[in-house]
Each structure stands twice: as C-alpha cells, then as structure tokens.
C-alpha cells in the first residue's frame, strides 16, 4: 500500500496559512518583498490561469536567479495582455520579438551573456502552446538540441486563444474551437491528432523536463526552483485553463486544472536526461466528465451520442494512468 503526501493547500497563498509556516517553507508569494515580476495593471481576462502561472513562474525564477533574470516572450496572450505600448506589466528586463522565435532569442541572450562573462545572469523564455508546439517548435527543438542555457516555459491553454480560439496541435480531441466546430459526425478536434510537447522535450534528453498546473502552485514553484538550479536546456510545461477558450467559468480555472490532473488526463511529471524521475500521483480520482463537463468546448459530449467520445476520453485517462503509474499501483 502506497501513501500519498498531501500538502496543506492554503500554504501557497498570502492567506493566514502561509504565515503559519516557517520562513523557509513559505512560498515566494508570501514574502513581503516578493518580486511581483508580472505586476498589476495588465489586461488578462478574468480567471486567466496563464497570468497566475506566469506570475508564480517568474517570481520564483527571479528569486532563484538572485534578481538576475532576463525574459524572452513569444507573441501570444501573455505578451499582448502585458505590454501594450506605452505600458508594461513586467519588472524584469523583458523582450518580445516574434511568435516563433522566443527560444532562439533566448539562445541569443544566453550566448551574449556567456560571451560577456555574465554567467550569473539567467535566461527564461516563455510562450503559449501555439508559439511552442506549433510555429515555434523548430526553434525550441534547436535550443534543446544545443543544450543552450535557457529555461523554456510553455503555458498551454490548448489553442490559439489570442486570435479567437482556433485549434492548435495542443488542442485535445473533441474540443470545439473556431476551426474545429462541434458539427458533423465527429464534432470538434479529431482523435488521434496533436502532440505531447513533454514527450518531445524528453526525447531531446535535456537535463530537465517537468509538467505542472496552477492547481498546485507549490509544486509549480518547486519545479521552477529545480529547473533554475540546473544549467543547460530545461523545459516546463504548464497547463493553464482559459475561461474564454474553454468556455468555462472564470472562477473554475483552478478546479479544472485540478480535475485534469486527478482524472489522469494531464500527468504531472519530472524527467531528467530523458528519464522519467517523478510522477505526481492521483490523490482523489475523478471521472473525466468532472474535467470535461464544466467546459462549453466539450458540451457536445454531454448530449445524446456523446457517450462513445466520453469512453474514448476515459481510455486516454487509463492509458496515462498506466503509462505514468498515476495511481501508484505498480510500486
């Protein structure tokens, strides 16, 4: 019988729980002098999990780098909502160049810093799933393959939300988007398409790959901290629910991220040099419908005729549970 460590969920916030912890156990966000790298005043949607995740990632990375962090950002929601001229919500030195080139721009920054002998300054690149999995994949792969000293963070909201919710190669099967409408015999995105960026990253055998969600911010923080303790190419894939694109309540983002993990749909893992090294077990297993039903993009699954597709979703969850031993039965 395996045991599952259950963290006290309130400890990651500024609420009273954070202050009950010892100083060294508190999250970056609970510090009075937290960096607030992505500060107030930006234009993200209500309930945007990307904004939340980016703030946690960035503040942790800034702290881990001793304040010496430079950020390269791909085009996308995160860039648009944070930097509409003449305003910027970013405190660290930050550059946006293009949609597809954040990884390469970060490589250039890292190369420049190395040439200047400034190895104390760290580099982080970030983008959405479109800028990472689709249009930016070649640059990301090149950065991985050369093992450039860059932490790349993908905030995966599973589609092109900035341009009005079109399908990306991270869009899950059956999801309705503007370019995979919920009509016809197989409504929404087709089964059998899409790619796993986590597996692609692992196949490059880079020093560190991890996935996380904003449902467990302390885990996200720990992974950023681990990543920042390592040199070379590192990849962090963060699932970020998008109320606009997913058709979910803006209050539901954290719950949806949690349901994605607890249903087995989104495995939360760590890998080093291509080898899986840690898996977050499912604590309280839920059916895939707990993840799917609150999202309007999957509404057609819950009308007559949607049962087959739901079964296929359950099969996907089962496959993940088997592959990553998410219930811990194998140990």
């Amino acid at each position: 019988m395996t045991t599952v460590h259950i963290p006290f969920l309130q400890t990651g916030t500024l609420a009273v729980g954070g202050r009950l912890l010892t100083e060294e156990e508190r999250s970056v966000q609970s510090h009075a002098d937290r960096p607030s790298s992505l500060t107030k005043g930006h234009r993200a949607c209500q309930g945007c999990a990307e904004a939340l995740a980016a703030r946690w990632v960035m503040d942790t990375a800034v702290e881990a780098a001793g304040g010496k962090l430079i950020v390269a950002n791909a085009t996308g929601c995160l860039e648009v909502f944070s930097t509409l001229y003449p305003e910027s919500a970013w405190k660290p030195p930050w550059i946006h160049s293009l949609f597809a080139n954040a990884a390469a721009v970060a490589t250039g920054i890292a190369a420049s810093l190395h040439a200047q002998g400034r190895d104390d300054v760290r580099v982080l690149a970030q983008g959405g799933d479109g800028g990472t999995v689709d249009i930016g994949l070649a640059a990301v792969s090149g950065m991985f393959e050369r093992n450039d000293d860059v932490l790349y963070v993908c905030y995966d909201n599973q589609g092109y939300m900035n341009t009005g919710v079109q399908r990306s190669s991270a869009t899950p099967a059956t999801a309705r988007t503007a370019t995979t409408p919920a009509v016809g015999r197989h409504p929404g995105q087709a089964f059998g398409q899409g790619k796993s960026m986590v597996k692609i990253a692992m196949a490059h055998e880079i020093p560190y790959v991890a996935s996380a969600t904003p449902a467990d911010l302390r885990d996200l923080e720990a992974k950023v901290r681990t990543a920042m303790s390592i040199r070379g190419a590192r990849y962090l894939h963060v699932l970020v629910p998008c109320p606009l694109g997913w058709g979910s309540a803006s209050s539901a983002s954290i719950a949806l991220a949690r349901a994605a993990v607890q249903s087995g749909i989104f495995p939360v893992i760590e890998a080093r040099a291509g080898e899986l090294t840690d898996v977050q077990r499912i604590r309280e297993r839920v059916d895939v419908s707990a993840y799917l039903e609150p999202q309007a993009r999957f509404a057609h699954l819950f009308t007559p005729g949607g049962e087959d597709a739901l079964d296929r979703w359950r099969a996907l969850a089962e496959a993940n549970i088997r592959r990553y031993d998410l219930l811990g039965g194998a140990s």
Binding site: I70, Y85, P92, P93, W94, T107, G108, S112, G142
Partner: protein, 409 residues
C-alpha cells in the same frame, strides 16, 4: 599587407577583427565559406570572447542575433537567397526594434526555379525591411564595408546588410589589403547599445503598438533613416582618412578619364551617357566602358553603394542631367521593371534624363563586357529600349528532351 584572398575569407577575417560577441548562422550557398571561416576562428581563439551558435534555420539565426544584440553584444550573421526570405519576419523585427545587427548577404537568386547563383533578388525583397543596404563593388570593398556597417549601424541603431555578389565575389580570389585588428580597434568604437536588456536598469523591449502610436513609430524610424545617409557618408569619409582607400559612401564616382573610382570625379553633364549600377558589375563596366572612352564617346559610370537609404540627392548631382542613363539591374520587379531602375527613376523624376533599364546577370548569367558595350552603343544610336534583358536568348529556354515531360504549348 596586400595578399590574394578569397572574398569570403577577406570578409570573415574583417568581421572577426570587428570583435562580434555573437555570431550565428545557418549554412546556405554561397554564404558558407564566410561562416565556416568564422566558426573556425571561434574554435581556434582567433575570434576571442565570441559565441558561435550553429542554429537550425535562418529564422533562428536572425532571432539569435536579435537576442544577442538586445543583450548588449555586437551580433553578426550571414545568409543569402531563400535563407534571407526564410528569416524575413525577423529581419523586419530587428529593424523595428532598432537593433544594429550586421549581416552579410551573399546575393543569390530567389527560386523557383531554384538557382544558387548570383543576382540581387534576395536583397531587393528586403529593401523595405528597415535595414541599411550597402553593396560592394569588389572584394576589397566587401571587406571594408563591414567595418563601416558596424560603425554606422551602431551609431544609428539601424541594422545593416552588406551585400556582395554571391560566387562572383564570395568565391573569387583577389588582391586585397585587410584592415588589421589594431586599425579596426582604433577606428570602430566599442559597441554601446542604445537599448539593452540590463538587470540593473530593466526595460521592456518589443511592446505592441496600436493604431494610436504605430504611424508615429514608423515616422520616427523613417526620420532616423534619413539621418543614415549623412552617417554612412561620414563614416566612409573617416574610413578613407584612416585607411587611405575608398569604401562605402552613398554612391561611387568614377573618373571620366581613367574610369577608376574617384570621389573627386566631376558630375556627368547633360551631353553624357551615364551607366548606373550596383555591385560587382561595376568592375566589368570599368573594363567595358574603357574602349568607348578611348573612342571619345561621352560615357560615364556611377555606382550605387547605399541602396537603403537610397541616395537620391547624391545620385541626381552625380548624374548632372545626363542625356541617357542606363541602369544595369541585377533584379527584376516582375510586372514593373528593373528594381534599381525604379529607385533611380524616382531620383530623376522631373529631370530630362532618358532612363533605360538593362536587366542583366539574373541567376548567375555572366555579364559580358561586349554585351554592356553593345548596350551603350545601341543607346547612343537610339536603339536601346526602356527595358531590355541583356543577352536574352530569344529562342526561349531549352525544351526538355522528348519523353522527359509533356510540353502542352
């Protein structure tokens, strides 16, 4: 020291002596010899304190240069043809962000049909990207222009392309005298970026500009570009003073008597026929026009060194109201005419000059002295049209052998 060097080696050594902090490139003919040489120098330490990054595409080459330049390094890359077009988005981006990257373009045709040989189609496709575009007449100038390009680009905060004819210059060996490292150290100020990703003075670079500010952004970029002509001219003058030879400038003037390059050459006059060209064909023109001058034909030669900014005023003055202006054009605006001709035409609007466009050397077709001489003679005889293709095979292109493909018309 005068020595025989391949053009690519001359450029690579000069670039190395400009002390770039980051060199990044993706191989494409005919740029390869330049970046191979730089990669070698980065390994041997001849190119010190420099990161050489082997990227996976030209798009990433320019993107790495963007990151490196924004982080405070002198950044260099080189490309050609399809590679320049593949990085096009980043080429525009570098200019919009005011990053003074220097890039060699080993000019090559753009397909289809795929063709690895020289013309100016690639650079012309990027003429509106917001980069300085300097064209080398020979390998000496190709090497020297890089020093001027770094200096002018960094003063202006505008990136610079040094365009040199692919194969015709890159792979040809000539007698050159390279600027030494000491000379360049004395000439080229250290790179002090105008904007930089600095942890002590954090800044946001690359924000979105909406309709309320985009026009003004472009207007200011254009004003800066108008300054560029003076800055290029000033650095070229300084170069001449420091090194004792001509390089750069906005246009190249040639002596009416010797047809040698001569900054002091008088303008042409209204009775002259003046040939305007860009790049290595200027050398062939020097040779081709010599017999005409010897016969007393009033023919002059003017080179365009700076295509962007386009030196309208300097060109108008040098042409001096020439009766005939023949523009030898190595790129074609399909459906319109010669690419250089268009800019020359705009410069000469309202003058009485009669402009002839001679499109020559596309996709590596050798430009022959006799053909150029013939075009001038035909112009003098009133037989040269407004747009001609030099040495066009009027029988059409060879038809594939029977059975290779079906020819339907």
């Amino acid at each position: 020291m005068r020595e025989v060097l391949e053009g690519s080696q001359a450029v690579a050594r000069t670039v190395a002596r400009c002390r770039p902090g980051v060199v990044c490139a993706y191989p494409i003919s005919p740029q390869t010899h330049i970046v191979e040489a730089l990669a070698g120098m980065a390994r041997t330490g001849e190119l010190a304190d420099c990161e050489y990054v082997n990227v996976e595409s030209e798009f990433s080459a320019m993107s790495v240069a963007i990151g490196a330049c924004a982080a405070g390094s002198r950044a260099y890359t080189a490309t050609a043809s399809q590679g320049l077009l593949y990085m096009a988005e980043a080429v525009y981006n570098a200019a919009g962000m005011g990053l003074p990257i220097v890039m060699t373009v080993a000019n090559r045709a753009v397909g289809a049909p795929i063709n690895i040989w020289n013309d100016h189609s690639d650079a012309m496709a990027m003429r509106d990207a917001g980069w300085l575009q300097l064209f080398a007449a020979d390998n000496q100038e190709a090497a020297d222009l890089h020093v001027i390009a770094f200096a002018a680009a960094e003063e202006l905060g505008i990136p610079a392309m040094v365009c040199m004819d692919g194969f015709v210059l890159t792979h040809a060996s000539d007698v050159v005298e390279l600027a030494t490292a000491d000379q360049i150290d004395a000439f080229l100020p250290p790179y002090h970026p105008q904007q930089v990703l600095d942890i002590d003075r954090p800044t946001t670079i690359g924000t979105m500009a909406g309709p309320e500010s985009f026009t003004e952004t472009r207007y200011l970029q254009h004003l800066r570009f108008l300054d560029a002509a003076d800055v290029i001219a000033a650095w070229s003058d300084r170069f001449r003073a420091a090194f004792g030879r001509e390089a750069g400038g906005l246009i190249a003037r040639y002596s009416p008597d010797t047809l040698d390059r001569d900054a002091q050459a008088p303008p042409a006059s209204s009775t002259d026929l003046t040939v305007v060209a860009m790049g290595s064909v200027l050398g062939t023109l020097q040779a081709a026009l010599a017999p005409l001058r010897a016969e007393g034909v009033p023919v002059r030669l003017v080179g365009v060194t700076s295509f962007r900014p386009f030196p309208e005023a300097a060109l108008r003055e040098a042409l001096g109201g020439s009766r005939h202006v023949i523009v030898v054009d190595r790129a074609l605006e399909l459906g319109a005419g010669g690419a250089l001709t268009g800019s020359v035409g705009r410069a000469l609007a309202g003058t009485r000059s009669r402009i002839h466009s001679v499109v020559a050397g596309l996709g590596g077709r050798p430009i022959l002295e006799s053909s150029l001489e013939g075009a001038v003679r035909r112009a003098l005889a009133g037989e040269l049209g407004a747009l001609e293709f030099l040495d066009l095979k009027t029988g059409g292109v060879p038809v594939p052998v029977e059975g290779a493909s079906e020819v339907t018309r």
